[in-house]
Symmetry: C2
Subunit: 614 residues, 2 copies
């Protein structure tokens, strides 16, 4: 291994930062947390495997090696990686297109999907593309998770009631349920209904009841969180005692007692091509969800996570899942919160959890034989109903129509067409609405506030203006998406304005002028010149001015570039009577090439010839 400076090695292998200072106290804390999380994860892994259309043991396998891989490369101390609800739903949607659930082809395709996702995440991490997560706005993420929660809950009504329901979207699910409601197995419905009722009571009242009975807060909390385990144990015993597995109640059945196998994902080009887009969507959604959880938990302890390193950690985890009989995984909210609340301090807690689950996979699996799927369905429904939060719509509606459109659109498309279409719609809507909004920027005509050097919107303030000079403050960068709109607007304002001699574009809010906008400014310059009006700029930012000076635009400019709007106004209102010279005017007060006195110059650091550094 090449000799790298310790700091680089620390960044690449975050495990070094905590493993070297591991203490006995850390060990006991992590160990205790691991016990609690393992107990919680046994039913959850089985449930999410079922949600993903995978055999139950795949859920356990997917919770073992991936979390160890994350512990080596991830940057969060308490994130727990494994199967999660939304990603499992997306997995089922993706695999359902290429294979029949329950077949060997399906399970094999799941390995390919996980490995693909892992490779993509790793590649993005190495290319430091953590910023792609930024292209999902909060409202869109919230809307997507809400709609996914609804889809998951509806889909689980099938196993809950003992009817077969398949569908990747709300219309398909409703069709499926409606058609089969007559085929109910009353025993399954009974088990499912009782589990649901019990879990609901646990979530809402158990903690209070236990506290009332005198239990301490920590114990009450721990017992309340173990509701699903209690339901699993109780229903398994009931089915075993009553022998209902032969009376129509679907059970988990035989779960091989084994450690995660070493598996090779299929590398057929056709399969990769079919799964490429779903893998990308799963990677992005998984990453965004995981990073949100990790950041929330890190903030509690004043820790910070590194998004690019998180990509590498999650990539390694998914590759591990692909090579050990699992399916796509990511950092999960419920399991991570439980991990953190249970006292975990380092990722070693995750490693111990993995060992605990491996042990359970070897030893406890015979006990799962009689576990009814209806109970697992009930645990999923209760878990995801916590994800559904329609209040985001009301918040967005009150604040920003663009955000509201994005979140409402995302929810609708996800419900109507499934998760892949939904998240794609969310990204496109977020970006599209942002572009649309910035393609119609706010432009204020401004005037001078008497007695000051400030300029304010003529529509909102009492200001001084001059009929020969129009100042337009453009509240947006000038780039290809808004160029045409601005050209139109400026030309319209300067048409039918007799006596108008000078147009000033106040660029205090212009952070960029790209090539398309530059071409448009040149065209505008010519247009206005034909009408006998000069074009001037004021308050151009340093980086923007640097670029303009590398072009011929400033030479062609009929007017001047002013450092401050006040200077521009002062100079041009005194020159108003002169009209437009055919030659470009001298650069005023810009220091670009001129010697002028004025308060703006006494404090420069001598960088004036390079432009307005403001």
């Amino acid at each position: 291994m090449p000799h790298l400076p310790p700091s680089v090695l620390d960044r690449v292998l975050p495990i070094r930062s905590w493993a070297r200072v591991y203490s006995r106290q850390d060990l006991s804390r992590d160990g205790l947390a691991a016990v609690i999380v393992t107990v919680m994860l046994i039913p959850q892994s089985l449930a999410y495997a079922m949600l993903a259309g995978m055999p139950p043991e795949a859920g356990i396998y997917a919770s073992i090696l991936p979390i160890i891989a994350y512990a080596l490369f991830g940057s969060s101390r308490v994130l727990a990686v494994g199967p999660v609800a939304v990603v499992s739903l997306m997995t089922a949607a993706a695999l359902g297109e290429v294979a029949e659930a329950g077949t060997a082809t399906y399970a094999s395709a799941a390995l390919t999907l996980a490995a693909l996702s892992g490779a993509m995440l790793l590649a993005m991490g190495l290319m430091r593309m953590g910023f792609v997560a930024n292209f999902l706005s909060h409202p869109v993420i919230a809307g997507f998770i809400t709609a996914s929660g609804i889809l998951i809950a509806m889909g689980q009504l099938g196993p809950l009631l003992g009817i077969g329901v398949k569908g990747a979207s709300l219309p398909e699910l409703l069709d499926g349920i409606g058609g089969k409601i007559t085929g109910l197995s009353w025993r399954t419905t009974l088990i499912g209904g009782l589990s649901l009722a019990f879990l609901t009571w646990v979530r809402r009242h158990m903690k209070a009841t236990l506290r009332g009975a005198g239990a301490g807060p920590v114990l009450a909390d721990a017992l309340a969180k173990s509701g699903p385990v209690l339901a699993v144990v109780a229903s398994t015993l009931a089915v075993w005692a009553l022998e209902w597995q032969d009376a129509g109640v679907a059970v988990v059945g035989h779960v091989p007692a084994a450690l995660p196998p070493f598996t090779l994902p299929g590398f057929s080009l056709a399969l990769i091509r079919e799964l490429a887009l779903p893998a990308l969507l799963i990677s992005v959604v998984g990453f965004v969800e995981s990073v949100s959880v990790a950041q929330t938990l890190a903030a509690r302890k004043r820790q910070r996570i590194q998004p690019d390193q998180e990509l590498i950690g999650l990539g390694a985890a998914n590759l591990a899942a692909g090579f050990s009989g699992g399916f796509p995984v990511t950092g999960g909210f419920a399991r991570s919160v439980v991990n953190a609340d249970a006292g975990a301090v380092t990722p070693a807690a995750g490693i111990f959890t993995a060992l605990g689950l491996a042990f359970a996979g070897l030893v406890l699996t015979p006990l799962l034989h009689f576990l009814p799927k209806a109970t697992l369905a009930a645990t999923i429904i209760i878990a995801v109903l916590g994800l559904v939060d329609l209040s985001i719509l009301r918040r967005a509606f009150g604040y920003s129509r663009a955000d509201f459109t994005a979140v409402a659109g995302t929810i609708l498309v996800t419900l109507l067409f499934g998760v892949e279409a939904g998240i794609s719609a969310g990204v496109l809507l977020s970006i599209g609405l942002h572009l649309w909004r910035s393609s119609r920027p706010h432009v204020a005509e401004v005037g001078l506030v008497a007695g000051t050097e400030h300029f304010r919107n003529i529509l909102r303030h009492r200001v001084i203006t001059d009929p020969a000079v129009v100042t337009l403050r453009i509240d947006e960068s000038l780039y290809f998406a808004n160029t045409r709109y601005l050209e139109e607007l400026i030309l319209q304002r300067s048409a039918n304005a007799p006596g108008l001699r000078h147009v000033i574009l106040m660029c205090s809010a212009v952070n960029e002028i790209d090539m398309t906008a530059l071409d448009a400014l040149e065209a505008l310059n010519h247009h206005l010149r034909d009408r006998g009006i000069s074009l001037n700029l004021s308050e151009v930012k340093g980086p923007v001015m640097d670029r303009l000076q590398r072009t011929s635009f400033l030479d062609q400019l009929t007017g001047s570039v002013f450092l401050s709007q006040h200077e521009a106004f002062r100079v041009l209102t005194t020159r108003a009577g002169e009209g437009l010279d055919a030659r470009p005017g001298p650069r005023q007060s810009g220091g670009a090439r001129g010697a002028c006195d004025g308060p703006e110059f006494r404090s420069g650091r001598g960088l004036w010839p390079l432009g307005n550094g403001r």
Copy 2:
């Protein structure tokens, strides 16, 4: 027809604006222009039909009804609509995926493509979506057209030399040419080579030679523009006289003498699904090209065009093409410039051109029998080499790396993978690079310029600062793509800064704060409060403040919102010793809810309670 006010009717049917005032002078001008354009268009229509893989008469049909449809609905006075080089290339690429060139299926699919494109354009026009054209930046358009020109020229080497060459991308074309170079027909190559040489001479030297021989400028110009027609006539006569059509020279062959037929495009769902994306790309590219041409020509005469109306005009034209045996069309540069230069004043010139071509289609087609395809190929090559302009790369490199990446990427992808991939890459690159750039905005720490009220970048100017107060001016709107970056930056700046008590975000360049950014500001507020630092805002724009006031953010804000940065600095540097109060501070100088004196207020129009209108 419902009774609409005349102005609405004028907008919907632009024909009304010029038809009602049509004079005899207009008639003679338009008529003359039509004669010139018709003569030019006969070979060009055949050539572009060949380029699109269509039978030659389709080119003539596509130049008749579409231009009449445009004349009714389009907003340009001089735009000539018909087959153009780039769109014909895209047509061939799209149809090549669904049928074999030269078959009836191919021609039928072309009708569907044109009708689809027409319907999309019409829909976009009715929804006033003209702004979608803005999402192609100038450099990307220039790069795409340049690369398309290269592809077209390479592809035409086949017919020019008499070898069969097929390919939608440069690698395919080079493969095809390399493989067949031994199968050359020397006669074809001779004709092709002579045509090419003649046309090159015409383009470069003919006008000068004619002027030298004493011809007037207008006559010289007209003769120079009719170079292709001369080449066509000469080579047709040569082939006919020498009977070379039986000696290996491919000729146009039998062209039915007929008016455009009434055809029904196929409506099979499978075909529509396959052609939907290509139709969309053709619509957008055609629209962008057409609008550029129309705007350039309109600017010469101080006219303006309406992009949304142009969508409707082009939509009608393409629908007409689909129902009259044509293929996708748009406003063409060469034909429109010739039209305008020949003196056209209204779209009636286009109608007369259509009539002229219909006449030619009925009467002159037998004369085309012996027209060698090599000559048509030569006319195309000469025409498109005028489109190739690699200087855009140099310009972009010098001005903006983002623009350079977008144009270079577009050119490369177009050459390597074909036009559809190329234009898609161009759009994605333009938008993606813009988002990437605005996700890493320029943030300047600013200080007070002594003796003034201005604040400038501490790195570029000598300014006054205070260790207890940090002011960050964010040169970008706050939205989902840059939220994370800014959060990191602000937290980093305020970490390890002993003595820091107040952070001011100077929002003079912040045009929007979306929900994601709002959440981040709230989180930032909390983070800083935990560190004993207050968060303040200054110079918040009116529309932004209006929105913030509808949320609870301002109540939670530990600091205050100041109208001017100077006020913020003044107040906070005097309070620096006090430290952070747990309760939100009073809103200073904002007039939001406070009575403060100061020069900023004497001139307000009384709208202060609604926020800082600046």
